[in-house]
Protein backbone atom coordinates (compact mmCIF):
# COMPACT_ATOMS: atom_id res chain seq x y z
CA UNK A 1 0.00 0.00 0.00
CA UNK A 2 2.82 2.41 0.87
CA UNK A 3 4.46 1.71 -2.49
CA UNK A 4 1.19 2.33 -4.31
CA UNK A 5 0.60 5.56 -2.43
CA UNK A 6 4.06 6.77 -3.43
CA UNK A 7 3.50 5.75 -7.04
CA UNK A 8 0.22 7.67 -7.16
CA UNK A 9 1.80 10.75 -5.61
CA UNK A 10 4.83 10.63 -7.89
CA UNK A 11 2.85 10.14 -11.09
CA UNK A 12 0.36 12.77 -10.00
CA UNK A 13 3.21 15.25 -9.51
CA UNK A 14 4.80 14.20 -12.80
CA UNK A 15 1.57 14.76 -14.64
CA UNK A 16 1.05 18.18 -13.12
CA UNK A 17 4.62 19.14 -13.98
CA UNK A 18 4.01 17.92 -17.52
CA UNK A 19 0.83 19.91 -17.96
CA UNK A 20 1.22 23.10 -16.04
CA UNK A 21 3.74 24.24 -18.59
CA UNK A 22 1.02 24.58 -21.20
CA UNK A 23 -0.91 27.72 -20.38
CA UNK A 24 -2.45 28.01 -23.81
CA UNK A 25 -3.77 24.48 -23.55
CA UNK A 26 -5.58 25.43 -20.36
CA UNK A 27 -7.34 28.25 -22.20
CA UNK A 28 -8.30 25.98 -25.07
CA UNK A 29 -9.62 23.33 -22.71
CA UNK A 30 -12.02 25.87 -21.16
CA UNK A 31 -13.43 26.35 -24.63
CA UNK A 32 -13.50 22.59 -25.28
CA UNK A 33 -15.33 21.88 -22.03
CA UNK A 34 -18.00 24.46 -22.91
CA UNK A 35 -18.82 23.56 -26.48
CA UNK A 36 -20.68 20.30 -25.94
CA UNK A 37 -23.00 21.27 -23.04
CA UNK A 38 -23.75 24.66 -24.61
CA UNK A 39 -25.04 22.94 -27.74
CA UNK A 40 -27.32 20.58 -25.74
CA UNK A 41 -28.43 23.44 -23.54
CA UNK A 42 -29.49 25.61 -26.44
CA UNK A 43 -31.34 22.73 -28.08
CA UNK A 44 -33.25 21.68 -24.93
CA UNK A 45 -34.01 25.23 -23.81
CA UNK A 46 -35.58 25.84 -27.20
CA UNK A 47 -37.49 22.57 -27.12
CA UNK A 48 -38.81 23.33 -23.62
CA UNK A 49 -39.90 26.80 -24.63
CA UNK A 50 -41.58 25.51 -27.78
CA UNK A 51 -43.47 22.91 -25.71
CA UNK A 52 -44.93 25.60 -23.49
CA UNK A 53 -42.22 25.78 -20.84
CA UNK A 54 -41.32 22.21 -19.83
CA UNK A 55 -40.32 18.81 -21.25
CA UNK A 56 -40.11 15.55 -19.28
CA UNK A 57 -40.20 17.38 -15.98
CA UNK A 58 -37.59 20.00 -16.88
CA UNK A 59 -38.21 23.69 -17.49
CA UNK A 60 -35.90 25.69 -19.72
CA UNK A 61 -33.87 27.01 -16.79
CA UNK A 62 -33.80 23.54 -15.19
CA UNK A 63 -32.32 22.21 -18.43
CA UNK A 64 -29.69 24.93 -18.09
CA UNK A 65 -29.11 23.73 -14.51
CA UNK A 66 -28.84 20.14 -15.71
CA UNK A 67 -26.15 20.96 -18.22
CA UNK A 68 -24.17 23.23 -15.92
CA UNK A 69 -24.01 20.38 -13.39
CA UNK A 70 -23.35 18.03 -16.34
CA UNK A 71 -20.24 20.06 -17.16
CA UNK A 72 -18.80 19.32 -13.72
CA UNK A 73 -19.66 15.61 -13.62
CA UNK A 74 -18.56 15.08 -17.19
CA UNK A 75 -15.10 16.47 -16.41
CA UNK A 76 -14.78 14.16 -13.46
CA UNK A 77 -15.98 11.02 -15.20
CA UNK A 78 -13.44 11.22 -18.02
CA UNK A 79 -11.77 7.81 -18.04
CA UNK A 80 -8.82 6.19 -19.72
CA UNK A 81 -8.95 6.53 -23.49
CA UNK A 82 -9.27 3.03 -24.97
CA UNK A 83 -7.46 4.21 -28.09
CA UNK A 84 -4.42 4.92 -25.97
CA UNK A 85 -4.29 1.33 -24.79
CA UNK A 86 -4.93 0.00 -28.28
CA UNK A 87 -1.96 2.03 -29.51
CA UNK A 88 0.26 0.69 -26.73
CA UNK A 89 -0.66 -2.89 -27.45
CA UNK A 90 -0.34 -2.57 -31.21
CA UNK A 91 3.05 -0.82 -31.11
CA UNK A 92 4.50 -2.80 -28.21
CA UNK A 93 4.78 0.31 -26.04
CA UNK A 94 3.06 -1.72 -23.37
CA UNK A 95 6.15 -3.90 -22.97
CA UNK A 96 8.27 -1.54 -20.85
CA UNK A 97 5.21 -0.91 -18.70
CA UNK A 98 4.77 -4.62 -18.07
CA UNK A 99 8.32 -4.81 -16.79
CA UNK A 100 7.65 -2.37 -13.98
CA UNK A 101 6.70 -3.93 -10.68
CA UNK A 102 3.49 -1.86 -10.55
CA UNK A 103 0.40 -2.48 -12.67
CA UNK A 104 0.07 0.12 -15.47
CA UNK A 105 -3.52 0.71 -14.31
CA UNK A 106 -2.26 2.53 -11.24
CA UNK A 107 0.03 4.81 -13.18
CA UNK A 108 -2.71 5.57 -15.70
CA UNK A 109 -5.19 6.27 -12.92
CA UNK A 110 -2.77 8.63 -11.23
CA UNK A 111 -2.34 10.39 -14.58
CA UNK A 112 -6.09 10.84 -14.85
CA UNK A 113 -6.30 12.21 -11.32
CA UNK A 114 -3.64 14.74 -12.30
CA UNK A 115 -5.72 15.62 -15.33
CA UNK A 116 -8.69 16.27 -13.05
CA UNK A 117 -6.70 18.87 -11.15
CA UNK A 118 -5.72 20.62 -14.36
CA UNK A 119 -9.25 20.58 -15.77
CA UNK A 120 -10.73 21.68 -12.43
CA UNK A 121 -8.80 24.88 -12.85
CA UNK A 122 -10.43 25.37 -16.23
CA UNK A 123 -13.78 24.28 -14.86
CA UNK A 124 -14.25 27.12 -12.38
CA UNK A 125 -14.27 29.96 -14.95
CA UNK A 126 -16.33 27.76 -17.28
CA UNK A 127 -19.06 27.29 -14.69
CA UNK A 128 -19.10 31.01 -13.87
CA UNK A 129 -19.40 31.85 -17.55
CA UNK A 130 -22.18 29.31 -18.22
CA UNK A 131 -24.11 30.52 -15.16
CA UNK A 132 -23.95 34.13 -16.29
CA UNK A 133 -24.99 33.22 -19.83
CA UNK A 134 -27.81 30.74 -19.21
CA UNK A 135 -29.22 31.61 -15.77
CA UNK A 136 -29.62 27.98 -14.64
CA UNK A 137 -32.06 26.95 -11.95
CA UNK A 138 -30.94 24.31 -9.46
CA UNK A 139 -32.77 23.39 -6.25
CA UNK A 140 -29.87 22.46 -4.02
CA UNK A 141 -30.67 19.96 -1.26
CA UNK A 142 -27.88 19.87 1.35
CA UNK A 143 -27.93 16.13 2.16
CA UNK A 144 -28.11 15.37 -1.55
CA UNK A 145 -25.03 17.47 -2.19
CA UNK A 146 -23.20 15.53 0.52
CA UNK A 147 -24.17 12.26 -1.19
CA UNK A 148 -23.02 13.76 -4.49
CA UNK A 149 -19.37 13.65 -3.42
CA UNK A 150 -19.04 9.85 -3.03
CA UNK A 151 -21.25 9.38 -6.07
CA UNK A 152 -18.86 11.49 -8.15
CA UNK A 153 -15.87 9.44 -7.00
CA UNK A 154 -17.70 6.17 -7.74
CA UNK A 155 -18.81 7.57 -11.09
CA UNK A 156 -15.23 8.28 -12.07
CA UNK A 157 -13.86 4.92 -11.01
CA UNK A 158 -16.75 3.00 -12.55
CA UNK A 159 -16.38 4.63 -15.93
CA UNK A 160 -12.60 4.55 -15.84
CA UNK A 161 -12.44 0.84 -14.94
CA UNK A 162 -15.08 -0.03 -17.55
CA UNK A 163 -13.24 1.82 -20.29
CA UNK A 164 -9.94 0.34 -19.20
CA UNK A 165 -11.40 -3.16 -19.28
CA UNK A 166 -12.89 -2.54 -22.69
CA UNK A 167 -9.61 -1.15 -24.02
CA UNK A 168 -7.95 -4.46 -23.15
CA UNK A 169 -9.90 -6.21 -25.89
CA UNK A 170 -7.12 -4.82 -28.05
CA UNK A 171 -5.11 -7.79 -26.82
CA UNK A 172 -7.21 -10.00 -29.12
CA UNK A 173 -7.75 -7.75 -32.06
CA UNK A 174 -5.69 -4.74 -32.92
CA UNK A 175 -8.57 -3.01 -34.69
CA UNK A 176 -11.01 -2.33 -31.93
CA UNK A 177 -12.44 1.01 -32.99
CA UNK A 178 -15.75 -0.52 -34.05
CA UNK A 179 -16.26 -2.02 -30.63
CA UNK A 180 -15.40 1.21 -28.83
CA UNK A 181 -17.86 3.06 -31.02
CA UNK A 182 -20.69 0.73 -30.06
CA UNK A 183 -19.83 1.29 -26.41
CA UNK A 184 -19.81 5.05 -26.80
CA UNK A 185 -22.99 5.07 -28.87
CA UNK A 186 -24.89 3.25 -26.11
CA UNK A 187 -23.32 5.43 -23.50
CA UNK A 188 -24.17 8.57 -25.43
CA UNK A 189 -27.89 7.93 -25.27
CA UNK A 190 -28.22 5.92 -22.06
CA UNK A 191 -25.97 7.81 -19.65
CA UNK A 192 -27.79 11.13 -19.60
CA UNK A 193 -25.20 12.72 -21.80
CA UNK A 194 -27.44 14.33 -24.40
CA UNK A 195 -30.48 14.78 -22.18
CA UNK A 196 -31.98 13.72 -18.87
CA UNK A 197 -33.04 10.06 -19.15
CA UNK A 198 -36.65 11.08 -18.50
CA UNK A 199 -36.91 12.39 -22.07
CA UNK A 200 -36.24 8.87 -23.40
CA UNK A 201 -39.11 6.50 -24.27
CA UNK A 202 -40.11 4.01 -21.57
CA UNK A 203 -38.28 1.04 -23.16
CA UNK A 204 -35.03 3.00 -23.48
CA UNK A 205 -35.24 4.01 -19.83
CA UNK A 206 -35.62 0.35 -18.89
CA UNK A 207 -32.61 -0.52 -21.03
CA UNK A 208 -30.61 2.27 -19.36
CA UNK A 209 -31.54 0.90 -15.95
CA UNK A 210 -30.05 -2.48 -16.87
CA UNK A 211 -26.75 -1.02 -18.06
CA UNK A 212 -23.94 0.67 -16.13
CA UNK A 213 -23.79 3.91 -18.13
CA UNK A 214 -26.21 6.09 -16.17
CA UNK A 215 -24.37 5.44 -12.92
CA UNK A 216 -21.37 7.42 -14.02
CA UNK A 217 -23.25 10.52 -15.17
CA UNK A 218 -27.02 10.70 -14.72
CA UNK A 219 -27.15 9.48 -11.13
CA UNK A 220 -24.65 12.03 -9.73
CA UNK A 221 -26.47 14.71 -11.73
CA UNK A 222 -29.79 13.86 -10.13
CA UNK A 223 -28.10 14.23 -6.74
CA UNK A 224 -26.82 17.72 -7.59
CA UNK A 225 -30.25 18.72 -8.84
CA UNK A 226 -31.88 17.36 -5.69
CA UNK A 227 -34.30 15.15 -7.59
CA UNK A 228 -33.95 11.97 -5.52
CA UNK A 229 -35.33 10.73 -2.23
CA UNK A 230 -32.80 9.61 0.41
CA UNK A 231 -33.79 5.98 -0.29
CA UNK A 232 -33.18 6.40 -4.02
CA UNK A 233 -29.84 8.06 -3.30
CA UNK A 234 -28.70 5.24 -1.06
CA UNK A 235 -29.84 2.58 -3.51
CA UNK A 236 -28.02 4.47 -6.27
CA UNK A 237 -24.75 4.58 -4.36
CA UNK A 238 -25.13 0.86 -3.72
CA UNK A 239 -25.74 0.17 -7.41
CA UNK A 240 -22.68 2.22 -8.33
CA UNK A 241 -20.60 0.18 -5.91
CA UNK A 242 -21.93 -3.12 -7.31
CA UNK A 243 -21.18 -2.08 -10.88
CA UNK A 244 -17.71 -0.94 -9.81
CA UNK A 245 -16.91 -4.27 -8.16
CA UNK A 246 -18.18 -6.13 -11.23
CA UNK A 247 -16.10 -3.93 -13.52
CA UNK A 248 -12.96 -4.43 -11.47
CA UNK A 249 -13.50 -8.20 -11.59
CA UNK A 250 -13.97 -8.00 -15.35
CA UNK A 251 -10.85 -5.86 -15.72
CA UNK A 252 -8.73 -8.32 -13.74
CA UNK A 253 -10.04 -11.26 -15.71
CA UNK A 254 -9.52 -9.68 -19.12
CA UNK A 255 -6.09 -8.45 -18.07
CA UNK A 256 -5.02 -11.90 -16.97
CA UNK A 257 -5.97 -13.60 -20.21
CA UNK A 258 -5.01 -10.62 -22.35
CA UNK A 259 -1.47 -10.38 -21.05
CA UNK A 260 -1.13 -14.10 -21.49
CA UNK A 261 -2.10 -13.71 -25.11
CA UNK A 262 0.17 -10.68 -25.58
CA UNK A 263 3.01 -12.78 -24.24
CA UNK A 264 2.12 -15.67 -26.49
CA UNK A 265 2.05 -13.78 -29.76
CA UNK A 266 4.82 -11.31 -29.06
CA UNK A 267 5.09 -7.82 -27.68
Amino acid sequence: MRVLRNVYLAQFRTYLAENFQYRVQLGISILGIMVEPVIYMIVWINVAEAQGGAVAGYTASEFAGYFVAWTVVRQFNIGWSPWGMEHRIRTGELSPQLLRPVHPFHIDTATLLGLKVVTSLALIPTIVLLTLLFRPEIHFVPWSLVAFLPSLILAFFLRHVLMYAMSLTAFWTTRVTAMFQIFFAFEFFLSGRIAPLTVLPEWAQRLAAALPFQWSLYFPLELVLGRLTPEQALAGLGTQAIWLVASVAMLLLIWRFGVRRYAAVGG
Partner: protein, 327 residues
Amino acid sequence: MQSQSVVQVSALSKSYFVDEREGGFFAALQSLVRRKRKEVKAVNSISFELHPGEVVGFLGPNGAGKTTTLKMLSGLLMPTAGEVRVLGHEPWARQRSFLQQITLVMGQRNQLAWDIPAVDSYQLNQAIYDIPEPQFRETLDEFVELLELKDLIRKPVRNLSLGERMKVEIAAALLHRPQVLFLDEPTLGLDITMQRRIRTFIAEYNRRTGATVLLTSHYMADVEALCKRVIMIHHGRILFDGDLSDLVDRFSAHKTIVLKPETNSIDYRRYGEVVDETNGRIALKVPKADVSRVTSDILRNVSVYDLTVEDPPIEDVIEAVFAGDPE
Protein backbone atom coordinates in the same frame (compact mmCIF):
# COMPACT_ATOMS: atom_id res chain seq x y z
CA MET B 1 26.67 -25.57 -10.11
CA GLN B 2 22.89 -25.22 -10.38
CA SER B 3 22.58 -22.64 -7.65
CA GLN B 4 25.49 -20.64 -9.01
CA SER B 5 23.93 -19.64 -12.27
CA VAL B 6 21.91 -16.46 -12.45
CA VAL B 7 20.20 -17.38 -15.69
CA GLN B 8 19.37 -20.93 -16.65
CA VAL B 9 17.89 -21.68 -20.02
CA SER B 10 17.16 -25.18 -21.15
CA ALA B 11 15.67 -26.36 -24.42
CA LEU B 12 13.91 -23.02 -24.74
CA SER B 13 11.73 -22.56 -27.82
CA LYS B 14 9.36 -19.95 -29.12
CA SER B 15 7.17 -20.33 -32.19
CA TYR B 16 4.81 -17.84 -33.74
CA PHE B 17 2.01 -18.34 -36.16
CA VAL B 18 1.89 -15.71 -38.84
CA ASP B 19 -0.83 -15.15 -41.41
CA GLU B 20 0.36 -15.51 -44.93
CA ARG B 21 -1.23 -14.34 -48.11
CA GLU B 22 -0.38 -13.21 -51.60
CA GLY B 23 -0.61 -9.52 -52.42
CA GLY B 24 -3.62 -8.09 -54.23
CA PHE B 25 -7.33 -7.57 -53.76
CA PHE B 26 -8.51 -11.11 -54.49
CA ALA B 27 -6.08 -12.62 -52.03
CA ALA B 28 -7.21 -10.12 -49.42
CA LEU B 29 -10.81 -11.11 -50.01
CA GLN B 30 -9.98 -14.78 -49.83
CA SER B 31 -8.14 -14.28 -46.55
CA LEU B 32 -11.42 -13.12 -45.02
CA VAL B 33 -12.69 -16.66 -45.31
CA ARG B 34 -9.65 -18.82 -45.13
CA ARG B 35 -6.27 -17.94 -43.77
CA LYS B 36 -3.04 -19.74 -44.32
CA ARG B 37 -1.01 -19.80 -41.18
CA LYS B 38 2.63 -20.57 -41.05
CA GLU B 39 4.62 -21.52 -38.00
CA VAL B 40 7.82 -19.60 -37.49
CA LYS B 41 10.34 -20.96 -35.03
CA ALA B 42 11.94 -17.80 -33.67
CA VAL B 43 13.89 -19.69 -31.04
CA ASN B 44 14.55 -23.37 -31.43
CA SER B 45 15.58 -25.31 -28.35
CA ILE B 46 18.40 -23.25 -27.00
CA SER B 47 20.21 -23.89 -23.72
CA PHE B 48 22.77 -21.86 -21.82
CA GLU B 49 23.63 -20.54 -18.39
CA LEU B 50 24.92 -17.22 -17.16
CA HIS B 51 27.00 -16.97 -14.02
CA PRO B 52 27.06 -14.10 -11.54
CA GLY B 53 28.94 -11.06 -12.79
CA GLU B 54 29.39 -12.31 -16.33
CA VAL B 55 29.03 -9.95 -19.28
CA VAL B 56 28.00 -12.04 -22.25
CA GLY B 57 27.55 -10.93 -25.84
CA PHE B 58 24.52 -12.34 -27.60
CA LEU B 59 25.23 -12.19 -31.29
CA GLY B 60 23.33 -12.96 -34.40
CA PRO B 61 22.01 -11.41 -37.59
CA ASN B 62 18.65 -9.63 -37.68
CA GLY B 63 15.84 -12.09 -37.07
CA ALA B 64 18.10 -14.67 -35.44
CA GLY B 65 15.99 -14.81 -32.29
CA LYS B 66 17.99 -12.51 -30.01
CA THR B 67 15.20 -10.12 -29.05
CA THR B 68 12.71 -12.97 -28.67
CA THR B 69 15.09 -14.66 -26.24
CA LEU B 70 15.64 -11.47 -24.26
CA LYS B 71 11.89 -10.97 -24.04
CA MET B 72 11.44 -14.49 -22.70
CA LEU B 73 14.20 -13.95 -20.16
CA SER B 74 12.63 -10.72 -18.94
CA GLY B 75 9.09 -12.11 -18.77
CA LEU B 76 7.47 -10.35 -21.72
CA LEU B 77 7.06 -13.48 -23.77
CA MET B 78 5.84 -16.88 -22.74
CA PRO B 79 8.00 -19.71 -24.08
CA THR B 80 6.39 -22.29 -26.33
CA ALA B 81 8.57 -24.97 -24.78
CA GLY B 82 11.54 -25.34 -22.49
CA GLU B 83 12.49 -23.72 -19.23
CA VAL B 84 13.86 -20.42 -18.06
CA ARG B 85 14.96 -19.44 -14.57
CA VAL B 86 16.31 -16.00 -13.81
CA LEU B 87 17.50 -15.53 -10.23
CA GLY B 88 15.41 -18.55 -9.41
CA HIS B 89 12.22 -16.98 -10.78
CA GLU B 90 10.10 -17.99 -13.68
CA PRO B 91 10.22 -14.71 -15.61
CA TRP B 92 6.80 -15.14 -17.13
CA ALA B 93 5.11 -14.90 -13.71
CA ARG B 94 6.47 -11.33 -13.51
CA GLN B 95 6.51 -11.33 -9.73
CA ARG B 96 7.38 -8.08 -8.09
CA SER B 97 10.50 -9.55 -6.50
CA PHE B 98 11.68 -10.63 -9.95
CA LEU B 99 10.94 -7.36 -11.73
CA GLN B 100 12.72 -5.45 -8.95
CA GLN B 101 15.97 -7.21 -9.80
CA ILE B 102 16.10 -7.08 -13.57
CA THR B 103 16.02 -4.56 -16.37
CA LEU B 104 15.51 -4.77 -20.11
CA VAL B 105 16.81 -1.95 -22.25
CA MET B 106 15.60 -1.95 -25.81
CA GLY B 107 17.45 0.41 -28.13
CA GLN B 108 14.58 2.52 -29.28
CA ARG B 109 11.90 2.03 -26.68
CA ASN B 110 11.13 5.09 -24.68
CA GLN B 111 10.07 4.74 -21.08
CA LEU B 112 10.60 8.37 -20.12
CA ALA B 113 7.84 10.96 -20.35
CA TRP B 114 8.49 13.08 -23.38
CA ASP B 115 7.60 16.55 -22.23
CA ILE B 116 9.25 16.71 -18.84
CA PRO B 117 12.84 16.50 -17.63
CA ALA B 118 14.14 12.98 -17.04
CA VAL B 119 14.65 13.71 -13.35
CA ASP B 120 10.85 13.83 -12.89
CA SER B 121 10.52 10.38 -14.47
CA TYR B 122 13.35 9.17 -12.25
CA GLN B 123 11.31 10.16 -9.22
CA LEU B 124 8.41 8.11 -10.53
CA ASN B 125 10.78 5.16 -10.91
CA GLN B 126 11.95 5.72 -7.36
CA ALA B 127 8.36 5.26 -6.21
CA ILE B 128 7.66 2.30 -8.50
CA TYR B 129 10.75 0.40 -7.42
CA ASP B 130 10.49 1.63 -3.84
CA ILE B 131 14.07 2.94 -3.78
CA PRO B 132 15.01 4.50 -0.43
CA GLU B 133 15.92 8.18 -0.74
CA PRO B 134 19.64 7.88 0.24
CA GLN B 135 20.18 5.02 -2.23
CA PHE B 136 18.31 6.94 -4.93
CA ARG B 137 20.46 10.06 -4.40
CA GLU B 138 23.66 8.06 -4.34
CA THR B 139 22.85 6.06 -7.48
CA LEU B 140 21.67 9.12 -9.36
CA ASP B 141 24.80 11.10 -8.43
CA GLU B 142 26.93 8.17 -9.54
CA PHE B 143 25.14 7.89 -12.90
CA VAL B 144 25.21 11.64 -13.44
CA GLU B 145 28.96 11.53 -13.06
CA LEU B 146 29.63 8.37 -15.10
CA LEU B 147 27.33 9.26 -17.98
CA GLU B 148 27.84 13.04 -17.79
CA LEU B 149 24.15 13.70 -17.32
CA LYS B 150 24.33 16.85 -15.23
CA ASP B 151 22.64 19.23 -17.67
CA LEU B 152 20.63 16.59 -19.49
CA ILE B 153 18.32 15.38 -16.75
CA ARG B 154 16.82 18.83 -16.21
CA LYS B 155 15.84 19.39 -19.84
CA PRO B 156 12.59 18.06 -21.31
CA VAL B 157 13.38 14.68 -22.87
CA ARG B 158 12.06 15.81 -26.26
CA ASN B 159 14.87 18.40 -26.46
CA LEU B 160 17.62 15.78 -26.17
CA SER B 161 19.57 14.27 -29.05
CA LEU B 162 19.29 10.54 -29.74
CA GLY B 163 22.52 9.80 -27.90
CA GLU B 164 21.64 11.99 -24.94
CA ARG B 165 18.23 10.35 -24.73
CA MET B 166 19.84 6.90 -24.69
CA LYS B 167 22.03 7.95 -21.78
CA VAL B 168 19.13 9.21 -19.70
CA GLU B 169 17.11 6.11 -20.66
CA ILE B 170 19.86 3.77 -19.50
CA ALA B 171 20.13 5.66 -16.23
CA ALA B 172 16.35 5.29 -15.78
CA ALA B 173 16.55 1.56 -16.46
CA LEU B 174 19.29 1.03 -13.88
CA LEU B 175 18.22 3.35 -11.06
CA HIS B 176 16.84 0.43 -9.08
CA ARG B 177 20.25 -1.26 -9.33
CA PRO B 178 19.11 -4.44 -11.04
CA GLN B 179 21.25 -7.54 -10.67
CA VAL B 180 20.51 -8.81 -14.14
CA LEU B 181 20.66 -6.61 -17.23
CA PHE B 182 19.23 -7.53 -20.60
CA LEU B 183 20.47 -4.96 -23.09
CA ASP B 184 19.13 -5.09 -26.62
CA GLU B 185 21.24 -2.94 -28.90
CA PRO B 186 21.96 -0.25 -26.33
CA THR B 187 24.26 1.62 -28.70
CA LEU B 188 22.21 1.40 -31.88
CA GLY B 189 22.41 4.52 -34.00
CA LEU B 190 24.80 6.35 -31.69
CA ASP B 191 28.02 8.03 -32.73
CA ILE B 192 31.40 6.55 -31.77
CA THR B 193 31.95 8.78 -28.75
CA MET B 194 28.52 8.09 -27.37
CA GLN B 195 28.90 4.34 -28.01
CA ARG B 196 32.14 4.39 -26.09
CA ARG B 197 30.59 6.32 -23.20
CA ILE B 198 27.76 3.81 -22.86
CA ARG B 199 30.15 0.90 -23.14
CA THR B 200 32.37 2.28 -20.39
CA PHE B 201 29.31 2.86 -18.26
CA ILE B 202 28.09 -0.73 -18.63
CA ALA B 203 31.54 -2.05 -17.77
CA GLU B 204 31.73 0.23 -14.74
CA TYR B 205 28.24 -0.73 -13.57
CA ASN B 206 29.17 -4.38 -13.87
CA ARG B 207 32.41 -3.82 -11.95
CA ARG B 208 30.76 -1.88 -9.12
CA THR B 209 27.64 -3.98 -8.65
CA GLY B 210 28.71 -7.41 -9.87
CA ALA B 211 25.59 -7.52 -12.03
CA THR B 212 25.16 -10.11 -14.76
CA VAL B 213 24.77 -8.69 -18.25
CA LEU B 214 23.49 -10.23 -21.47
CA LEU B 215 23.80 -7.81 -24.36
CA THR B 216 23.15 -7.81 -28.05
CA SER B 217 24.93 -5.42 -30.35
CA HIS B 218 25.72 -5.06 -33.99
CA TYR B 219 28.89 -3.23 -33.09
CA MET B 220 31.78 -5.63 -32.55
CA ALA B 221 33.61 -2.88 -30.68
CA ASP B 222 30.95 -3.19 -27.95
CA VAL B 223 31.39 -6.92 -27.77
CA GLU B 224 35.18 -6.87 -27.82
CA ALA B 225 35.31 -4.21 -25.12
CA LEU B 226 32.75 -5.79 -22.79
CA CYS B 227 32.36 -9.49 -23.33
CA LYS B 228 34.80 -12.25 -22.63
CA ARG B 229 32.17 -14.77 -23.60
CA VAL B 230 29.79 -14.73 -26.55
CA ILE B 231 26.76 -16.77 -27.50
CA MET B 232 26.00 -16.84 -31.20
CA ILE B 233 22.52 -17.56 -32.41
CA HIS B 234 21.30 -18.05 -35.96
CA HIS B 235 17.89 -19.18 -37.20
CA GLY B 236 16.89 -19.69 -33.57
CA ARG B 237 19.73 -22.08 -32.78
CA ILE B 238 22.96 -21.61 -30.89
CA LEU B 239 25.99 -21.89 -33.14
CA PHE B 240 28.66 -21.09 -30.61
CA ASP B 241 28.89 -20.50 -26.88
CA GLY B 242 32.30 -19.78 -25.43
CA ASP B 243 35.17 -17.35 -25.10
CA LEU B 244 35.53 -14.74 -27.78
CA SER B 245 39.15 -15.81 -28.27
CA ASP B 246 38.11 -19.45 -28.78
CA LEU B 247 35.68 -18.32 -31.42
CA VAL B 248 38.53 -17.04 -33.52
CA ASP B 249 40.58 -20.15 -32.91
CA ARG B 250 37.77 -22.47 -33.71
CA PHE B 251 36.24 -20.82 -36.72
CA SER B 252 39.20 -19.40 -38.47
CA ALA B 253 41.53 -21.90 -39.99
CA HIS B 254 43.82 -19.18 -41.31
CA LYS B 255 46.03 -16.42 -40.04
CA THR B 256 47.31 -13.42 -41.89
CA ILE B 257 51.03 -12.78 -42.27
CA VAL B 258 51.73 -9.12 -42.99
CA LEU B 259 55.20 -8.18 -44.14
CA LYS B 260 57.03 -5.21 -45.53
CA PRO B 261 59.90 -6.42 -47.76
CA GLU B 262 62.97 -4.27 -48.56
CA THR B 263 62.69 -5.05 -52.25
CA ASN B 264 59.65 -6.16 -54.10
CA SER B 265 60.84 -8.67 -56.65
CA ILE B 266 59.52 -11.97 -55.37
CA ASP B 267 56.32 -13.79 -56.20
CA TYR B 268 54.70 -14.35 -52.77
CA ARG B 269 52.05 -16.66 -54.07
CA ARG B 270 54.21 -19.63 -53.29
CA TYR B 271 53.95 -18.77 -49.57
CA GLY B 272 50.18 -18.35 -49.48
CA GLU B 273 47.18 -16.46 -50.86
CA VAL B 274 47.96 -12.78 -51.35
CA VAL B 275 44.93 -10.97 -49.92
CA ASP B 276 46.29 -7.44 -49.97
CA GLU B 277 49.20 -5.59 -51.52
CA THR B 278 49.29 -1.86 -50.83
CA ASN B 279 52.00 0.66 -49.96
CA GLY B 280 54.64 -2.01 -50.21
CA ARG B 281 52.94 -4.14 -47.56
CA ILE B 282 51.90 -7.64 -48.42
CA ALA B 283 49.22 -9.63 -46.61
CA LEU B 284 49.22 -13.40 -47.00
CA LYS B 285 46.46 -15.74 -45.92
CA VAL B 286 48.06 -18.88 -44.57
CA PRO B 287 46.54 -22.03 -43.06
CA LYS B 288 47.06 -21.96 -39.29
CA ALA B 289 49.10 -25.15 -39.27
CA ASP B 290 51.59 -23.75 -41.76
CA VAL B 291 52.13 -20.38 -40.13
CA SER B 292 55.41 -21.10 -38.35
CA ARG B 293 56.91 -22.93 -41.31
CA VAL B 294 55.92 -20.20 -43.79
CA THR B 295 57.15 -17.46 -41.46
CA SER B 296 60.57 -18.96 -41.13
CA ASP B 297 60.71 -19.63 -44.90
CA ILE B 298 59.96 -15.97 -45.58
CA LEU B 299 62.47 -14.74 -43.04
CA ARG B 300 65.13 -17.02 -44.52
CA ASN B 301 64.56 -16.02 -48.15
CA VAL B 302 63.39 -12.43 -48.05
CA SER B 303 64.84 -9.48 -46.22
CA VAL B 304 61.99 -7.67 -44.53
CA TYR B 305 61.63 -4.46 -42.53
CA ASP B 306 58.75 -5.80 -40.61
CA LEU B 307 56.66 -8.97 -40.23
CA THR B 308 53.56 -9.67 -38.12
CA VAL B 309 51.17 -12.59 -37.75
CA GLU B 310 47.56 -11.55 -37.18
CA ASP B 311 44.23 -13.20 -36.43
CA PRO B 312 41.56 -12.29 -38.93
CA PRO B 313 39.26 -9.43 -37.82
CA ILE B 314 36.52 -10.69 -35.48
CA GLU B 315 33.83 -9.30 -37.80
CA ASP B 316 35.11 -11.53 -40.59
CA VAL B 317 35.12 -14.59 -38.38
CA ILE B 318 31.56 -13.95 -37.26
CA GLU B 319 30.39 -13.25 -40.75
CA ALA B 320 31.90 -16.54 -41.82
CA VAL B 321 30.13 -18.39 -39.00
CA PHE B 322 26.78 -16.91 -39.91
CA ALA B 323 27.28 -17.53 -43.58
CA GLY B 324 27.37 -21.21 -42.57
CA ASP B 325 30.83 -21.28 -44.00
CA PRO B 326 33.40 -21.55 -41.26
CA GLU B 327 36.75 -21.27 -42.87
